[in-house]
């Protein structure tokens, strides 16, 4: 959710910053001076362009955003692998190639340095394929400028019986590695499936956010790092690379002034957008799957976090000063750490090697976060009920537990419900960052669809509406639950 907003805001801010369209045609790197260029965060292009101080660099986390920023005129140009934004994509978005970059970049697969055997196998396979020409023909098939017709894809052979070969990709884009239904296809994927068959190990693909996917290799969550990974001396210091399987060439893309919007009416366009985003390849399944993940993580975190929050509240209201201090410290620490940092620390440091799945770890992290908020809401709500109410109940002959449940709690609920509701909705929105742990939640579902369709608007809109409805449902559910909580 946050990412969606940031992306939208970034685009808005850039477009507001100045809407000058370059009068001069861009033909070489010199012509880029004074322009706004977008590229992928942490990519080689990012690192190279960062050295130029005469251009404004705009970094995005997904390929979809890079090219769309050009298409909507938010930036003047973007730079990326030529083969990714092929003719089909360029035509769809009204973008053309301004010029080709001079250099070539070797792309390989990343391994842990101690994983010498696995890397040797991979190198041996690539060498053999180079020798018999199959690597070349594979690249020709996948990387043609016409793109890949999804209807011609055949499910990969992936029936190894050994230990799973865990692959991380930071890139969900055709033709490198992309999802159709639950299956990963693409040049890299095909190579990985072949490696899997060679080792008799089934291949498991995980898509991490490009900003953090490197960690998954070092954290032991995966065996091979992929995703258009260029071999650079800097990266080789930490990672062992296979021999290159391909040399990528960058291209600079600009808006094509001659590309006329198609003559179809607006309704036809929207219909087409719907069809491409939801119907084709049954993409609505990403949305429903993502919705289920988001709901599961949110509800479990609310439940666990509330139980934990009761404990924090009990500590805060205890007569023992040590417990008070603990509750205070817990709140200060947890609220002081950005949620994303807490999530990544849990995943890559604290709970690494515990055998817990990403979803379980996300639930734990969000429960810890929610407990602080809930604990505070609970203790404030209880404090809002005057002590005289307790006295009146005790004086009637109620015991302390009876007093708490019949007199104090219903009044505290009435006071605290709006605050609790708000925290629950905040939590729902905060879960949109679980994509960093390769969990396909609702936000990530939107990203995956966008990476396949290059249609920026509709998936965002759908995801936004669903989040809005979820927030409304949470509020409604809590109201109903509290409504039953009548006195007698």
């Amino acid at each position: 959710m946050r990412k969606i907003l940031l992306t939208a805001l970034a685009a808005l801010a850039i477009s507001c910053a100045g809407d000058k369209t370059p009068t001069k045609e861009i033909r070489s790197e010199e012509d880029l001076a004074g322009l706004r260029i977008s590229t992928l965060t942490g990519s080689c292009y990012d690192m190279e362009l960062s050295e130029r101080d005469d251009i404004t660099l705009v970094r995005f986390n997904t390929e979809t955003d890079i090219i769309n920023s050009v298409a909507i005129g938010a930036v003047d140009a973007c730079v990326y692998d030529e083969v990714v934004f092929n003719a089909d994509v360029r035509k769809q978005l009204g973008v053309k190639i301004a010029f080709h970059g001079k250099d070539e970049y070797p792309a390989g697969f990343g391994f842990r340095k101690e994983d010498i055997e696995l890397r040797a196998e991979c190198d041996a396979m690539l060498e053999e394929m180079k020798a018999d020409g199959s690597l070349d023909s594979l690249c020709t098939v996948w990387l043609s400028d016409e793109g890949v017709d999804p209807s011609t894809l055949t499910p990969p052979l992936n029936n190894g019986t050994g230990e799973p070969l865990r692959i991380t990709t930071g890139c969900s884009i055709a033709p490198i590695s992309f999802m159709v239904g639950d299956t990963w296809y693409g040049l890299e994927c095909e190579l990985m499936y072949r490696l899997g068959q060679r080792l008799n190990r089934p291949v498991e693909y995980k898509y991490y956010d490009s900003a953090s996917y490197m960690f998954s290799l070092f954290g032991g969550m995966s065996d091979i790092l992929t995703g258009c990974l260029f071999i650079t001396p800097e990266r080789e210091e930490t990672t062992a690379f296979s021999i290159p399987y391909y040399y990528f060439k960058p291209a600079y893309f600009v808006k094509d002034p001659e590309a006329k919007g198609s003559k179809t009416g607006i309704w036809t366009k929207i219909e087409e957008s719907f069809r491409r985003s939801l119907i084709v390849e049954q993409r609505w399944k990403y949305i429903t799957g993502g919705l289920w993940e988001t709901v599961k993580i949110t509800l479990l975190s609310i439940l666990l976090g509330s139980i934990l929050g009761c404990g924090i509240c009990a500590c805060a209201r205890s007569r023992k000063r040590g417990l008070n201090k603990f509750a205070h410290l817990y709140n200060v620490i947890v609220t002081g750490i950005p949620m994303l940092v807490l999530l990544l620390i849990m995943f890559y440091v604290v709970l690494v090697n515990t055998g817990l799945g990403a979803t379980a770890i996300a639930v734990i992290a969000f429960s810890i976060y929610f407990a602080a908020a809930a604990g505070e809401v609970f203790s404030n709500s209880l404090a809002s009920v005057p002590h005289s109410q307790t006295e009146a109940s005790l004086a009637l002959g109620f015991t302390r537990p009876q007093t708490f449940f019949t007199v104090v709690l219903p009044q505290a609920v009435r006071y605290g419900l709006p605050f609790y509701k708000r925290q629950c909705i905040e939590l729902l929105k905060a879960t949109s960052i679980v994509g960093y742990l390769a969990i396909q939640d609702l936000t990530r579902a939107g990203d995956i669809i966008r990476s396949r369709t290059f249609d920026a608007l509709l998936p965002l809109l759908i995801v936004t509406v669903i989040y809005f409805l979820l927030a409304w449902l949470i509020g409604l559910g809590l109201n109903l639950a509290a409504g039953k909580n009548r006195s007698l």
Binding site: E391, A392, L394, A395, L396, G397, F398, S487, L488
Partner: protein, 362 residues
Amino acid sequence: MISVRHLSKTYRNPDGSILQVLKDVNCDIDNGEVITVIGPSGTGKSTFLRALNLLDPPTGGEIIVDGENILAKGYPAHKLRRKMGMVFQQFNLFPHMTVLENISLAPVKLLGMSRADADAQSVELLRKVGLAEKADVYPDSLSGGQKQRVAIARCLAMKPDAILFDEPTSALDPSMTGEVTSVIRQLARESGITMIIVTHEMKFAREVSTRIFFMNQGVIWEDGTPEQIFDHPVHSATKVFVQQMQKLIFDIDSQDFDFFGMSSSMGAFCVKYSIPEKREAIFQITDLMTSVLLKEHYPLHVVLSYSGLTGETALAFMMEGYTESPLQGVDVDRAALERVKEMGSQFIEEPTVKGFRIKIII
């Protein structure tokens, strides 16, 4: 039957000092008695009441209720409280329940009464306190007096043997105290429930009680029937309190005393207690006494007093070490003395423990 022996209660202040609210309280209260507890603020009246139902457990002494020592370790306080209700100064109705639910709650949950029976009883009790039509409203919409009547009904719903009233009218607008005191008076007449009432309403205390405890400085200072306490108090502290005595005291040591300042203070006193018509007389008598009749007899203590109960205003002049009146001598200004006697309604000369007093009732 409630017996209290050597009851004490000390608080430890945050700064470590110790505050003794109850020092040594002793009393026996028979079933059906209506006791009012009166006394100055901060003398432990409410603390005493709250000790009886263990809301503020005492720190020493013992309380025996119907033969059971309620201060024994492990004594179930909630059992005691079901027989001994309490009405609070701030009503403390449950705001999240209707008036009817407020009253039915305890009988249903604690006496195992059915909801229907409890509601029928609640309506009956509401009728008794004159609020049957308010059964289904929430306490927020009631006036203070109505809230307190509901609180009394809530208390009665448990069919208690005794009810503790903790300043039941103090939080009320003066125009509303009547409806609450009437209900309590009626209960005292008809119910046979033991009642212990802490109150500042002297007229009400006098009318309603069978016995009055005058509490002062953490003990029961005086204990007696309303007539004894109000008409023939043994202790002067009791008298000062029950007659709602207000006093203004000046010590004149020499001719250099600020007489104008004293006049100004006396004038303000008269205005404060609504006796401006007596101001002239007070000024003149004071002037004649201090600067003519008694000017040789410094140091002189002048006390201007006013009783809220009787409306009596008095000026007293006290001289330490005297055994007889200094106004008997031959050199006394007769004319001045006559004028003083004319202006007062009574002229009293009497010896006291420390000296001699001349008192003029105005």
